[in-house]
Symmetry: C2
Subunit: 114 residues, 2 copies
């Protein structure tokens, strides 16, 4: 989508700290990291959010999680642990309407989710 922030990042039209890229997925640092490691893993295809996911996205979803594991290893949090989160809609605080998997790591995370 021509007006989508993450589509522009994927196409290198906006600078970002890209850490991973393959045919299906691009990953880059969150512009406002909430944890020492905070990377966003996004499908190269424009998908507005988790609510749009269907069985046809199986390969893309798997690529996102496989990328997350590689990124966790590369950033030293594979053993210490990491949290993978997708926000969907207003109550979740979803701010960009291009599906993105947050990878949080590098500190002990709260069990509070409220």
């Amino acid at each position: 989508m021509s007006d989508c922030l993450f589509c522009k990042i994927i196409k290198n039209e906006i600078p970002s700290k890209i850490v991973y890229r393959d045919d299906l997925v691009t990953a880059f640092w969150d512009i406002h990291p909430q944890t020492p490691v905070h990377i966003l893993i996004v499908p190269n295809q424009h998908i507005a959010g988790a609510a749009e996911l269907t069985p046809a996205h199986a390969e893309t979803l798997a690529a996102m999680f496989v990328a997350a594991n590689a990124i966790a290893a590369e950033h030293g949090v594979a053993q210490s642990g990491y949290r993978l989160t997708i926000n969907q809609g207003p109550d979740s605080g979803q701010a960009v309407f291009h599906l993105h998997l947050h990878l949080f790591g590098g500190k002990r995370m709260s069990d509070r989710r409220g």
Copy 2:
């Protein structure tokens, strides 16, 4: 796995509040809900956690997210929004070593993740 809590729930060997079941996925209420809607979506196959995921799990992963969307609709949070989270390893607070996707909804969730 014979000693896995979630495998026992899937096989109905331990009671739980199951809300969804298909060939690939089972979903049930978290025993200690952190939000008004807090449901766990798990693969019927024993997978220890997100770190074990490979491209071979594509169909299962898609089934988990498609189930999440159906569950969100059924529990009245499809429009208000929901957060989908997988915890991997110590820093994340992962407590059961059978892959599970948390679905949180029914209230405005914090942006703090630390």
